[in-house]
Subunit: 133 residues, 4 copies
Amino acid sequence: MPDPAIQLFSVTAGSTEPIYRQLVEQVTRLVASGTLQPGQSMPSVRELAGALAVNPMTISKAYSLLETSGVLERQRGIGMLIAQHSNNTRKIDRRIELLTPTLNKLIFEANQLELDADTVIAQLTSMLKGPAQ
Amino acid sequence: MPDPAIQLFSVTAGSTEPIYRQLVEQVTRLVASGTLQPGQSMPSVRELAGALAVNPMTISKAYSLLETSGVLERQRGIGMLIAQHSNNTRKIDRRIELLTPTLNKLIFEANQLELDADTVIAQLTSMLKGPAQ
Amino acid sequence: MPDPAIQLFSVTAGSTEPIYRQLVEQVTRLVASGTLQPGQSMPSVRELAGALAVNPMTISKAYSLLETSGVLERQRGIGMLIAQHSNNTRKIDRRIELLTPTLNKLIFEANQLELDADTVIAQLTSMLKGPAQ
Amino acid sequence: MPDPAIQLFSVTAGSTEPIYRQLVEQVTRLVASGTLQPGQSMPSVRELAGALAVNPMTISKAYSLLETSGVLERQRGIGMLIAQHSNNTRKIDRRIELLTPTLNKLIFEANQLELDADTVIAQLTSMLKGPAQ
DNA sequence: GTGGTCTAGACCACT
DNA sequence: GTGGTCTAGACCACG
């Protein structure tokens, strides 16, 4: 039976962002939000590689990095689990911290575009609360 | 006499973003905001390379891409200048269009973090209008 | 095993046309004619550079431009291949479109030479259908 | 009074073809066709430079090359004249010879596009005899 | 293995 | 003076 958590992940092949890093960041965010719970098992490398149509080594690289950063734990014979000591889960500060780099990027670009704060906020609001997405 | 426009540009050597692309995006934004005006001449390749302490070929690559995308025009034997047909200059739609990819990235990440619209907007507002930054 | 497609390419070092652009135009035409098929992989940069006796960066520059123009797609870690969405392949309109600049050049020159249409066509016909060439 | 021959020349700034070479080839063709007659005077460097909005040195370079190739003659105190010994004028072989490089280019490109002789000739015919030019 | 980036330096073409 | 092209070679990122 396929792991239902697989549906949480998606990668864009044509992106400038490397596939393994897309995965690393997605898992990190999903753990921080509590969507992935401590102790929960991750899909196997082969399973996820098949579902995303990428090279298994790419998945393996992402898992290794996540293990190094303490987000995942390797259970021999079982696979990868979300780390137990995730004291980060659903902490609002942690989640905002993860969003900060992109917020900074947004502000830098808005400055060079000479878009004022109100315009940026209005645009973001309409995209967040508008039709879909 | 050095071109005063040189001060507008800055690159981060250690970034994952290639230097030439940092330049391409900066110039694109500065033209869209009207900070760089149509007909204005760009610093020479060698001059900018010296100021940013990078290889002239790196600047040249950025200029070539900007010519391809229609932001710059090449005047043979003279140098590069901001393209004349700049229907882009200070048009608000154009500026928001350039900001959209980063806005989309922000929204995607906020969703995975399960941060609601109000929280994201509040955080952005405080960063935009707050004391520092 | 060397990629057999290598034989399709040839460059003239002494030409006024830069090597990288000779390659760009050749690949564009070979894709339009269907000689290179969508999904087919291109020779690696190093392989083609060796075969044509040019610097790998020259090949790389051509590939980058072809990616920008949508003729090639980059498969990271794998190589370059002919773009899939090749709505161009063997379409007669596309092929004539690629020939148009040279046709226009021919007509402009014939006009200045005061060579009438029949003379130009006769000359072209003999060169196309004659013994040599 | 401005030299009426000025109207015969035109240069495209954005072309890949250098301006001075556009001029050289145009003069060569106009002499071969007899549009410019032996003994006829060319516009002065400054006059032509002003009319075409290019650097006088560019015109001067073109004139020098045309003098070297025997198409123009320099008359001290008067300016440049079309060379007297133009035994080439209106000779059909000479005119076809000047058209040959472009004809060869056309054939090479048509081959790579796998456009057959009839298609190329049909297209050229419609462009030569069709609506306008 | 793949392509991408950058450097250092030479040489060329154009104005 | 300007930018463009190419080389040789190093190093990196990705799969």
